[in-house]
Amino acid sequence: MPSTDTTQMSPAQPVPQPPSGGTSGNGAVDYSTNLEWSLRERIVQVLLGACALLTIGTTLGIVGILLYESFSFFLSVGIFDFLLGTEWRFAGVEPSFGVLPLVAGTMLITVIAALVGLPLGLGAAIYISQYASRPARKVLKPALEVLAGVPTVVYGYFALTFVSGVIIQGIDPSLPPLNALSAGLVVGVMIIPMVASVSEDALRAVPSSLSDGAYALGATKIEVVMKVVVPAALSGIIASFILAISRAIGETMIVAIAAGATANLTVNPLESIQTMTGFIVQVAKGDIDQGTLSYQSLFAVGLLLYIITLGMNLLATWLTRRFQEQY
């Protein structure tokens, strides 16, 4: 008999009760009814599939709400006035919505953070993957992960009270307590673990035949690491840099607490500035009424932030994928 039903295990046997889910351990389950496409199986698959689809729904929700409110905003404020304007005053009698001061503030924080976090993170990745002994690695890796687990509001407190209050004002008490430098430095520390863990994966993926070859030619360890291993892992390292920069751009509480609330078109790290994220928090902290221009401006700035970070994350994913195909 050319059976088309391969899932039917035993001879046809009328068993009315539904399968009991395999929970019975005494062999009483009759598997003959456990057809692959029974109603129960379909329900499970549909439910699990719905969970997976919900993640798409999250993205649609984010994009939808950002576009919807931004659209109303751009009906009152021209899109070029927004993108190219150099004055940001969201309150007062004569509001002005030129986003460049906020973008400049974000860039300033990001550059300071990158100067601190990228070299330290890469150095840590090289040390942990190439130099540390196995027990040392077992201590150092989780310790760096703790650094990533500290809530950002705690970093914000530390940036304001210690980095700015004790160190920077200890050097020169006339400097403003809220400044881009203290926030940027702490954001830099915050991104170290991210750079370190992604770079370390890339460094470990370099085949040992490459370094063995270099040793055979008489290179010293540091020469092998710096001239062979690091260049071979470069695309992964760059991906980690991009991810970390994207994280720094989106970082909110540290800058909201320590960088100030002055939309300020400056490159001086010792001045009080405001970032895109800092503005969003400042508006949200006050009572905002739905439908007002300042409420809508929050979504317009959020949209810009989302586009920038999404672009950088996609770039990093693309780079990682390219690098994985190499070996």
Partner: protein, 293 residues
């Protein structure tokens, strides 16, 4: 042959010395972040510890630092954790099971996977905007525990999905095949084999994401968590506050006393996080022993 020395420095001693110096520099890079962490903890503990008292833990936020406590924030943070656990865990594990056990390698599965990876990189403040626009206003939940809990659930969902996927993927295919060979269906294989074996990995991811949710501040500011309230939330649509919110408010408050109070609140928050992470480690060890026994 004098021409070869242009290719590399032949003095091996100086090259080795340079290597040793560089190794030292790399070690300092690794340690520096940890030094900052240690400084932070010492600074917070020295500043905040004198403020820790029974009255501080069980009291309510007041207009003076001396009379203030964080009880409603502790309760608020615990409730938030419960909402996130109830919403994000089933959804996240379900999505991971679908992607690993059901999805074929087609465009939809790839789209979902890429989308989850991107969601993990969306700044938390953007999730806050989503919560404000959708949960607070569109769904009309207001500045409530529910709106904040759902926002944080969406925030940690990608973390739960990715860590659960890794746990599920690490199960050898033979485990599933042996169950199928005995006539089990997909859902039975999942329920009796995949989930129990992946449980330690899944739980670790879940608890890490819960501690992430407890420390998040920006989304709470966006959905309008109260800064100081003198009651504990009674139901899901009640106003609430959370420990990070009080840290934020007290840090911004003028005057030294409130800043020191913020440090005390940070100690409570960090203790909370250490406790959850410790639970994760112990639970994972226990489950792994259980399995090997």
């Amino acid at each position: 042959m004098p021409s070869t020395d242009t290719l590399f420095n032949q003095r091996i001693d100086s090259r080795r010395r340079r290597g040793k110096v560089m190794a030292g520099v790399l070690f300092v890079c690794t340690i520096l972040g940890l030094v900052v962490l240690a400084t932070l903890i010492v600074d917070v503990v020295l500043t905040g510890a004198p403020w820790l008292s029974r009255e501080f833990i069980t009291g309510f936020p007041r207009s003076t630092a001396e009379a203030s406590g964080i009880w409603p924030a502790i309760i608020g943070s615990l409730y938030l954790m419960l909402v996130v656990a109830a919403v994000a865990v089933p959804l996240g594990v379900g999505a991971a099971l679908y992607l690993e056990e059901y999805a074929r390698d087609n465009w939809l599965a790839r789209l979902i996977q890429i989308n989850i990876n991107n969601l993990a990189g969306v700044p938390s403040v953007v999730y806050g905007i989503l919560g404000l626009g959708v949960f607070v206003y569109l769904f009309g939940f207001g500045n409530s525990l529910l709106a904040a809990g759902l926002t944080l659930s969406l925030l940690v969902l990608p973390i739960i999905v990715i860590s659960s996927q890794e746990a599920i993927r690490s199960i050898p295919q033979g485990v599933r095949e042996s169950a199928y060979a005995l006539g089990a269906t997909r859902s039975q294989v999942i329920w009796s084999h995949v989930l129990p074996i992946a449980m330690p990995g899944i739980l670790t991811g879940v608890i890490l994401s819960l501690s992430r949710a407890v420390g998040e501040t920006a989304p709470l500011v966006l959905v309008g968590a109260a800064l100081a309230i003198n009651f504990t939330p009674a139901h899901l649509l009640d106003e609430f506050t959370a420990i990070p919110m009080l840290i934020f408010q007290w840090t911004e408050e003028p005057g030294v006393a409130f800043r020191e109070l913020a440090a005390a609140a940070i100690i409570v928050l960090l203790a909370f996080l250490i406790l959850t992470n410790l639970t994760a480690i112990l639970l994972r060890n226990y489950l792994e022993q259980e399995r090997s026994a």
